[in-house]
Symmetry: C2
Subunit: 334 residues, 2 copies
């Protein structure tokens, strides 16, 4: 059964099952924000054959990833998610079941965070197009921005980088993984298909800041959805500072060392993207305790410097010294 | 100069000029809602060759109409606009100037309502795709919903219907307007190209409700973006009631009488769509004063009935009696 067989009203009836019935059905959705909290909004558009393809991504995974990308933006701002809206463009010959699986993946990812789909739009389009807007809220003093990094700040990542890119490569070229065992392969593939937005760090940040009695607004950062290098470069550009990254300290999947050349591993780690971790800049005296509280693979990977470029600083013979560039990551229209 | 010549970062720099510099530049935008007001959100996706085409619509008008559609949804909910986000999908060969004109049209429409573009996303897509999410706020007791219409309520429209559809026809087939003078033609074309979201009715509704000391929540309604018939049908379905529409009382463009057959005029009026007026259902004792306060072409056009269908009730020989149907309006995928 295809979308064109049941039409807009038929598909709407199916998709409304994924939404709370008391909120949808009007021209707009109504949400209640907590007093004294700011509203934080972010939007992402995913286009078939640009952001995903049938080859590498099931509809559930497309839905999961689309939601994860938006929730990751909220996490990077220090905001707790409230709801999302979904604008969906579809060709008429898409299977209705594909759309149901898409919404299943979206609600699976949203489910862990008590977040609902509160509305959207459904239109005809030549390729599948998914426009998600996510709404979160945060106390103004807990909001994390890009433009407040200071010289001397330690740079923290909340987890490993490069796994999602390696997982994508394994999906596109299975022979590339012939030296990996099945568990290693599946771990990397899962990192690509089911990334976890790091909303779990928000209560940790709040409690650490409270415990340490740090003045508000000393944490800056953004998420690493467009790659670790991109995140550090964007923070530095917005804050008018530079950074020195200690390559050896960036957490990567364990298998990278035996499986990939150092150059290849570095490429995936810095420019791979879509790991949906958060890059944080904090005064160096608080960095270690914060990394300990976040746990897992969180690590201090470098520091903010006064010269304006972003460099790899602990280079050795195998990794040439280099200044990182924004145009190495994925850029639309190029 | 085409989008692909300047790339994502180049285009972002241009588009950021249309946004307030203190709000953009992070993973998400931060907005402050007024205490005790609810957040109202709505989203619309417009796709080239589905919702607009180069033939009938300049990029400024595409931008204006995209914003007007979203602000109209807020008006229909009783909410004042705060901001919008814009998710934009573009083929690489779109002219940069086209995109600048698009944003010019959007900011022109937003300008009258003190509303800003606070963020968005920019991606490659096979056709131009514009996903707008608009945020508004309203006191909970002023929110207008679809599902509260009551038997006996008067049905009010805030203005004329059919003009946008007639304007579109004149753009597609100029010879169709050979019996109209230039002013008449331009009035209809402007109704299509530059529809006015009816946010002006919000203070009128509030002050009238206050003056009359009416219990809150007695006004239900929605906008007529998908046609007048669709709006009445949707309200009736959501409220589990029916309606009787007095065809002669529906305000239409003056030229319809001499220019169109009664059947053709009725078709445009009921099913044309995109007039972006608001359809309101109010207790009949308050209807006349409300219409007077709204002014312009506002009119009482019928009443809510207990039988569940929506009928034309003042039919004459030239207009056959008929039950209106949801599937007569524009439906995606059909």
């Amino acid at each position: 059964m295809k979308v064109k067989d049941i039409g807009e009203q038929g598909l709407l009836r199916i998709l409304q099952q994924f939404c709370p019935s008391d909120i949808i059905g009007d021209d707009a959705a109504i949400l209640t924000t907590e007093p004294e909290k700011s509203l934080v909004v972010t939007t992402d558009v995913l286009v078939e054959n640009v952001h995903f393809s049938e080859v590498t991504t099931s509809p559930e995974d497309v839905g999961w990833r689309a939601v994860a990308a938006n929730l990751s933006d909220l996490a990077a701002m220090g905001a707790s998610p409230m709801a999302i809206t979904v604008g969906l463009g579809l060709p008429g010959n898409v299977e209705v079941s594909w759309v149901e699986y898409l919404y299943t993946g979206m609600t699976q990812c949203l489910g862990s965070f008590n977040t609902l789909i509160v509305g959207g739009d459904l239109v005809k389009a030549p390729v599948i197009t998914i426009a998600i807007t996510a709404f979160g809220q945060a106390h103004p003093q807990n909001i994390i921005r890009r433009n407040t990094a200071k010289v001397g700040d330690a740079i923290i990542v909340t987890g490993i980088h490069g796994a999602s890119r390696a997982g994508l490569e394994l999906l596109l070229h299975p022979e590339f993984g012939k030296n990996l065992d099945e568990t290693e392969k599946q771990t990397l593939i899962k990192a690509h298909q089911r990334p976890q937005p790091r909303l779990d760090i928000l209560p940790i940040l709040r409690s650490t800041v409270e415990t340490l009695n740090v003045t508000p607004l000393q944490i800056s950062g953004m998420d690493s959805s467009d790659g670790l290098a991109d995140a550090v470069l964007q923070i530095c550009r917005a804050s008018n500072v530079g950074a020195c990254l200690e390559w050896q300290k960036i957490p990567t999947p364990k298998v990278f060392k035996s499986w990939l050349s150092p150059i290849q591993a570095l490429e995936y780690t810095l420019y791979g993207g879509e790991d949906f971790e958060v890059v944080l800049c904090v005064p160096s005296e608080f960095a270690e305790i914060l990394v300990e509280e976040i746990g897992g693979n969180a690590a201090i990977i470098g520091k903010i410097t006064s010269n304006k470029d972003v460099r790899l600083c602990d280079t050795q013979k195998e990794i040439p010294e280099q200044v990182l560039r924004l145009d190495r990551g994925f850029q639309h229209f190029n």
